[in-house]
């Protein structure tokens, strides 16, 4: 059995690999980095049967810090390890400049992500949450496209502004805890248990909740805070887009499920209607705008806005099935959108254009590329049998039973299901069908198959046997909702 030292290793390993990669020679750096990413992925896999693990130690004085792993954090770490591994592997051939720095930044990013996922402590969570911005800032700013300056500034200001508000909310929470108990604590568990027994003044709680939600909403991004995302994606290098869409956006939804709602679920129920409204607007706006894009990356970016809208809908509707679906959909979106960005990158590396009009008839010249694109597109439009369906189905079914907001929102969100097919099939048609005018492209080689085979397998493995993820996640959700209901009963 694994003990709590596993957590410490998991936590420290990415820092360690950042250092190794940063110090390795230019030539070897890329492969060293892939090897380290692989080692971390294996290390993560080892923890598969762990349901709950806690590590705590004293820092100095009586200031404690703690690490905590459960299924909510575990699968996201696994996703991050997997996506980092394949995007670094992909980058080996693509990135030829400042290789060591590039790879080290991705490991640093992984370190901050894993750090904020493992933290039981709100202060540490906040620090890692902020630190996440820095590697991403450099990845886009140095290896990005022509408008990278504008994109990085926008990305940084948006997310930074959000985090500052959360900081205010955090400090207020501490102060209130201190005023009422006379001791300081930043442990999430302690705070949550305390505020469950002694509910905060609702007027104050509302504002703190909103400060958290705003910060998470920008990261997710929830309408109307989403406009930084398309710009950031367009300018980011392929691997940066994969991690941004696949992992970083999920930190927002994770923050909601882990911190904002468990701490202040009364407020969450109070604001459910408005937040569901924003989610649904995001679903429909994202889909309609995606349809009109000619830049493939922008199309995928807006499709993310739409998909993340489904996830937040599932969360804000406050039902168990909805939460399970939302959590699964976070992973699904990471896989399918990550794959889509890799597919676009595959084309871009050969043609140096992302204009949808420049392509056509690829199904003829690139049959394997076409096959994978269609499968991933189907996963994205949630065809039954693929992973996307299970998540979307649970989100919508769960939300439909919701008591906190009208199920009219679900019906509107269902319209997004139709529109999802519209923009995705539009993309497929423009890329793959029609007259072929890009004959000279090369189809997949072994390097591509190395990561597309596991991706495609996962699409169906989650689509047909979702229980290996849903099972552990459901346990966690049920425990969480039991807590909510005991609170409501009191």
């Amino acid at each position: 059995m694994l003990n709590e030292n596993y957590l410490l290793v998991l936590f420290l390993f990415p820092f360690f690999s950042t250092l190794i990669v940063a110090l390795s020679r230019h030539r070897a750096a890329a492969w060293v980095s892939v090897a380290m990413a692989f080692a971390f992925f294996v290390l993560t896999l080892i923890g598969f049967q762990v349901h709950e693990l806690r590590y705590s130690a004293t820092w100095f004085g009586n200031l404690k810090y703690g690490l905590y792993l459960d299924s909510y954090s575990y699968f996201l770490i696994l996703l991050s390890a997997f996506l980092t591994l394949i995007s670094l592997f992909y980058s080996v051939r693509v990135i030829k400049e400042k290789v060591a720095a590039y790879h080290a930044l991705f490991h640093a990013l992984q370190a901050t992500v894993v750090g904020s996922l493992l933290c039981d402590d709100l202060v540490f969570f906040y620090i890692f949450w902020e630190a996440m911005l820095i590697p991403m800032y450099f990845i886009i700013g140095i290896w990005g496209g022509p408008r990278r300056k504008y994109a990085t500034l926008k990305f940084f200001l948006f997310t930074f502004a959000g985090s500052l508000l959360m900081l205010i909310g955090l400090i207020t929470t501490y102060v209130i805890y201190f005023q009422q108990t006379g001791t300081w604590s930043a442990s999430f568990q302690t705070l949550r248990d305390y505020f469950h027994m002694n509910p905060m003044n609702f007027e104050i709680q509302k504002w703190i909740f909103l400060s958290f939600v705003l910060s998470f909403a920008i990261k997710i991004p929830l309408f109307p805070f989403h406009t930084w995302l398309p710009d950031a994606h367009v300018e980011a290098p392929t691997a940066g887009s994969v991690i941004l869409a696949g992992v970083l956006l999920k930190m927002g939804t994770y923050g909601l499920m882990r911190f904002a709602i468990p701490l202040f679920h009364e407020s969450a129920e109070y604001f459910a209607g408005a937040l569901c409204f924003l989610s649904v607007v995001g679903i429909i706006l994202g889909a309609l705008v995606a349809w009109r894009q000619t830049d493939i990356k922008k199309l995928i970016a807006y499709s993310s806005v739409s998909h993340l809208g489904f996830i937040t809908l599932g969360i804000f509707m406050m039902t168990e099935a909805g939460w399970n679906g939302a959590y699964l959909q976070m992973l699904n979106h990471g896989l399918s959108t990550g794959a889509l960005f890799l597919l676009v990158g595959f084309l871009y590396d050969q043609t140096h254009t992302r204009d949808i009009q420049a392509y056509g008839g690829l199904a003829k010249s690139l049959p394997w590329f076409a096959l994978v694109t269609v499968i991933i597109a189907l996963s994205s439009i949630a065809l039954p049998g693929t992973n996307g369906f299970v998540g979307e189905f649970l989100i919508l079914l769960g939300s439909f039973q919701s008591k906190v907001a009208s199920n009219g929102w679900v019906i509107l969100a269902g319209v997004g299901v139709i529109l999802g097919a519209v923009y995705m099939l539009h993309l497929v048609q423009k890329l793959l069908y029609g007259k072929s005018h890009s004959e000279k492209l090369k189809d997949f080689g072994w390097r591509e198959w190395v990561f597309y085979v596991p991706l495609v397998i996962l699409v169906f493995a989650i689509g047909i046997f979702p229980e290996w993820i849903l099972g552990p996640v459901r346990e966690k959700t049920t425990a969480m909702f039991n807590l909510f209901s005991t609170f409501a009963a009191r």
Partner: protein, 628 residues
């Protein structure tokens, strides 16, 4: 029970395995291996289905494994419901499917994507079997969207033509609108019954005692299901995709867009008949939707010149008949017509395909004519099909259509009766037109026509025999027959039995006489009008309405598609660009301006700074004074 499970699994998995095989290795295997393999796989699947058909008494449920756990006491299983309703349709799917596979080996000969074609075709059979056999609504939905996917892939099979790709996309998106209704129905039913298993829902309905709230949600579910059914079965208002779907290879049109997939809507309503009986109004809607569609599509079919378009509208019209029957409480009649239609419409499509194949992909009937001499087998087989659909006794189409006409005429709804009889006449007319234009008169085309290879003609003959004799499956007792299908399905669906009396006998005889007279009149009129066809059609401004399919495509384009595109643009440029980014950029420039102003204060002049210090000091004093 164990072997039943094995049979069921094999029946479904064999086509799935085939699908991957042909896709992966189709090119390496070569046409011959793929042909033999694909057909063998389907026949094996058919045999499994036959084994289940005879192995199951009444009904059986086969459970494989848990798919999605919704909550601690509700989950979705991969499991099958084997009962008369599903097994009959399963037999048609695999049986007619096998025949069409055989035909396709001839039709697709020499196509560079031969393997891919059979891969999709096998995948379709898998999805269709999932649809038919699943015992949960979600499993049914998996098949439902799966067949939609295969339909999309096969319509845009020759994807180098942009038009084909667009037709495929249209089919998928329009079907998705229906699927949206289906999904909402699943949610609503789960709300009421707490389960998605069809038998559990139906037994809960039998128990009764639904509260007003539950009745409300079951009504919503009915509407959702009607939307779903109208999408898949191409009923008004979601019929627009089917005519465009003719862009696919002809065997696809026969299998998917005539014999099997499009009947899924009828199957769905039969499957959940008790739910619809609970909400009588919804059945009324189905009946009128069907009647209207039948008449509308028939009127368009008369004015089409593309042989496949005529058949496509004819399919929409015949599906309308089935909806009409289900809506009027005669699901057996609808099911019967579904079966005979599968025979004769598959025959007609494959016959048309044989003609198209012979004429090197010519589909315009104005460029055909006199083909009965060059293609005698195709001609005779098609003749049987035409007579069957026109309702000439004693062919299968006559018997099944007569049952529907009987239901309508005794239902006391005059409007529906008029629609149904008018449609019967028009059907005979446009089919007569198709038949005469293709096979009689002078040849008006360019290419020399040849009879098709044996693999195709063999299938035509087999289907012709089925179309001729299919009526025996449910030959009315009034005429001394034995209503096999009625008896078989009676445990699953409810249909009022026709009393045997001399009065009923007279009525039915009168009806049969009248309907066959209508059929003969339609055919005769077409013969007179088109026997010496010179290239001139009916010309009148009012006919443009029919030729242009009532302008419904154009209407949808203006009212919905363009508006949505416009909205998408406004949301992008207006909301995202102007409002949100505009506001934020304004915030940015505002900050910069403010900073510039403030920078102006830093002049470097000591006197000015001293003044500021003084002002500050005075303000502090003032502040301290007021606080005190």
């Amino acid at each position: 029970m164990a072997d039943l499970k094995l049979l069921a699994a094999l029946c479904v998995l064999i086509p799935l395995v085939g699908s991957t095989l042909w896709f992966w290795l189709g090119a390496r295997f070569g046409e011959k291996v793929v042909s033999i393999g694909a057909v063998t796989f389907l026949v094996a699947s058919f045999l499994c289905m036959l084994g289940m058909f005879f192995g199951v008494h009444e009904a059986a449920r086969v459970d494989f494994f848990e798919w999605i756990r919704i909550s601690s006491n509700a989950s979705v299983h991969f499991s099958f419901l084997l009962d008369p309703l599903s097994l009959t349709l399963g037999l048609i799917v695999t049986g007619v499917g096998s025949l069409i596979h055989v035909y396709a080996t001839g039709y697709m000969k020499g196509d560079p994507s031969f393997g891919r074609f059979f891969s999709y075709l096998n995948l379709f059979i898998f999805s269709m079997l999932m649809l038919v056999l699943s015992d949960s609504l979600v499993g049914l939905f998996l098949g439902w969207e799966g067949v939609g996917l295969c339909s999309y892939l096969l319509i845009s099979f020759w994807f180098s033509e942009e038009a084909n790709a667009i037709a495929g996309k249209k089919a998928f998106v329009v079907n998705r609108i229906g699927d949206f209704g289906f999904l909402i129905a699943i949610f609503a039913l789960f709300q009421v019954f707490g389960t998605v298993s069809i038998p559990d829902i139906l037994s809960a309905i039998h128990l009764g005692n639904l509260t007003a709230d539950q009745m409300f949600w079951s009504k919503i579910a009915c509407f959702g299901l009607i939307l779903g059914a109208s999408g898949k079965s191409a009923q008004i208002p979601l019929h627009i995709w089917l005519p465009d779907a003719m862009a696919g290879p002809t065997p696809v049109s026969a299998l998917i867009h005539a014999a099997t997939m499009v009947t899924a809507g009828v199957y769905l309503i039969c499957r959940l008949q008790p739910l619809f009986l609970l909400n009588g109004g919804s059945l009324e809607i189905i009946a009128y939707m069907g009647g209207l569609t039948a008449l509308f599509a028939a009127s368009v079919a008369i004015f089409q010149n593309d042989i496949k378009k005529v058949l496509a509208y004819s399919t929409i019209s015949q599906l309308g008949y089935m909806f009409l029957a289900v809506g009027l409480g005669a699901p057996v009649a609808a099911y019967f017509h579904l079966m005979t239609h599968a025979f004769f419409k598959a025959l007609l499509f494959l016959g048309a395909g044989s003609v198209i194949h012979g004429l090197h992909h010519e589909q315009n009937m104005h460029k055909m004519g006199g083909l009965r001499k060059q293609m005698p087998i195709t001609f005779w087989a098609m003749t049987v099909g035409v007579l069957a659909i026109a309702g000439i006794p004693p062919l299968s189409g006559f018997v099944s259509k007569d049952e529907i006409l009987h239901t309508v005429s005794t239902s006391g709804r005059t409007a529906l009766s008029v629609m149904a009889f008018l449609t019967a006449f028009m059907t005979a007319f446009y089919m007569g037109r198709l038949w005469v234009l293709t096979f009689f008169g002078k040849f008006r085309g360019h290419h020399e026509a040849d009879e098709s290879p044996l693999s195709m003609t063999f299938v035509l003959v087999t289907l012709a025999i089925l179309s001729a004799l299919g009526g025996l499956l449910n030959w009315p007792e009034l005429w001394g027959g034995h209503e096999l299908l009625n008896e078989f399905l009676s445990s699953v669906v409810v249909q009022k039995k026709i009393e045997i009396s001399s009065e009923a006998f007279h009525h039915s005889l009168l009806l049969a006489g009248f309907s066959s007279l209508l059929g003969l009149a339609g055919l005769g009129l077409a013969w007179l009008r088109y026997r010496n066809f010179s290239g001139k059609e009916f010309e009148a401004p009012v006919f443009n309405l029919f030729k242009k399919k009532y302008y419904i495509d154009e209407l949808y384009d203006i009212a919905i598609v363009r508006n949505l595109k416009q909205i998408g643009w406004i949301l992008w440029k207006g909301v995202d660009g102007l409002c949100i980014d505009g506001f934020l950029n304004g915030l940015g420039t505002g900050t910069t301006r403010l900073a510039n102003r403030l920078r102006g204060m830093q002049t470097g002049l000591a006197q000015q700074y001293a003044v500021w210090v003084w002002i500050g000091f005075l303000l502090l004093l003032f502040g301290a004074w007021t606080v005190r």
